[in-house]
């Protein structure tokens, strides 16, 4: 059956399935988001239940955040790998790189190789920053904080909001 070309196909190397890649990216981001939220909120809520009664300090913020950022680090790695796969596809089974490099539109090669990976990376970056701020706010608001044990991430965000 003849495959219908979609506008997503214009964002990946010719012959690749753009809609499927965009779908995989969206699914990856959704999984990453759920994993991230679970990795921060579950231990945080457990600590909240356990430590608030005894008035003990929570685990340092950086440790909480590092756990939560693992899925985003993996997603970022995936995006870098995807960009490489796109580029290397022009050397597989033929040398379509010759055609891509002699197109009148100099950006076509890069548009098709980098649009989805860079979009994915940008979303990952925005989510990382946004959620880090949200989690910092939760931590500042609800945790009992031992400032002596806090690390770099905590103080960076602290400076951002309080200095």
């Amino acid at each position: 059956m003849k495959k219908r070309t979609t506008r997503w196909d214009r964002l990946v190397p010719p012959g690749m399935n753009g809609r499927r890649e965009a779908g995989q990216l969206a699914a990856g981001l959704a999984v990453g988001l759920v994993w991230n939220a679970a990795a921060f909120l579950i231990p945080f809520l457990q600590e909240y239940e356990r430590l608030m009664w005894v008035r003990a300090a929570f685990e340092p913020f950086d440790r909480h955040l590092r756990r939560a950022l693992i899925p985003f680090a993996l997603l970022a790695g995936w995006m870098v790998a995807l960009a490489l796969v796109h580029l290397l596809s022009h050397y597989q089974e033929s040398r379509s790189i010759y055609l891509m490099r002699r197109l009148p539109d100099r950006w076509e090669l890069w548009r098709r190789c980098l649009t989805l990976p860079l979009t994915g990376l940008a979303i990952v970056l925005i989510l990382t920053l946004g959620l880090s701020v949200l989690y910092f706010w939760l931590y500042e608001t609800y945790a009992l904080i031992d400032t002596n044990s806090q690390g770099r991430w905590y103080w960076t965000l602290h400076r951002m909001f309080y200095e």
Partner: protein
């Protein structure tokens, strides 16, 4: 006019592992010419074509009607290579759309006619084609791009003789007087009646450049021209065999 002046290309790192591939090539190809580019393996044929297309860096000048080859005029050049430059997972119909989008002078009618002539399926990805079909498809794209200068690098490697002959006939039949073909190949005898001019490369330099008409007037065929330009010694094989036979006799108890 495609003009190449003092073209030099060195592979590797200069001063460390430099390997010269082109040593000051000068060549002019006018519109409408059918040029055969000949030479042994490593003579610099592929390198020369890739430099013209800007796929490799070089020193020297390459101009197209006096202008350097840039993105502004690159569409006037097309390329068919035995390495293939199509997208293996994209159907011919997808290629047609892609080329139409990027090359404003895309020749729809020619593409369809050639696809029909070679009976290539429009809805099947070229990765599933036979080697011969892949070569045909590669050449069809180069011919349909709407370029003024069609560069071909061993485009028929792997095609059977009937197939190749069909292609030469089709080429001669469809090319317009303004279209130029530079064909790099080893198949001297086959293209002799197709090309109008023969350029011979050796060691990265042009060692012969003649029109086929001139050769005919001199009573020479292309093979004889190549052999003379290469300093081929006709008795080389017999001398080697004689020497081997003599050695064999000496070795005998």
């Amino acid at each position: 006019m495609l003009e190449i002046k003092n073209l030099q290309k060195v592979y590797g790192i200069p001063g460390v592992s430099a390997k010269p591939a082109l040593n000051g090539v000068d060549l002019s190809v006018g519109q409408g010419e059918l040029v055969g580019l000949f030479g042994e393996n490593g003579a610099g044929k592929t390198t020369l074509l890739k430099c013209v297309l800007g796929l490799l860096g070089y020193t020297g000048t390459i101009t197209l009607d006096g202008e350097p080859v840039t993105r502004a005029n690159i569409a006037r050049l097309s390329f068919a290579t035995c390495e293939h430059s199509f997208f293996p997972h994209l159907t011919p119909a997808g290629h047609r759309d892609f080329y139409r989008e990027h090359f404003p002078r895309w020749r729809e009618k020619r593409f369809q006619a050639l696809m029909d002539f070679f009976r290539l399926p429009m809805g099947k990805a070229p990765r599933s084609f036979s080697t011969g079909q892949k070569n045909q498809f590669e050449v069809i794209l180069a011919l349909s791009q709407g370029a003024d200068y069609i560069l071909m690098d061993e485009p028929f490697a792997g095609n059977d003789v009937f197939n190749r002959e069909d292609f030469y006939k089709v080429l001669l039949g469809i090319l317009e007087p303004t279209e130029t073909v530079v064909l790099s190949t080893h198949l001297l005898e086959e293209v002799e009646h197709f090309v109008g001019r023969a350029v011979l490369l050796r060691g990265g330099a042009v060692v012969g450049d003649t029109s086929v008409l001139d050769l005919e007037e001199r009573g020479m065929d292309l093979m004889a021209f190549v052999k003379s330009a290469y300093g081929y010694e006709p008795d080389r094989v017999s001398r080697a065999l004689d020497r081997l036979t003599e050695e064999g006799e000496e070795d005998a108890p």
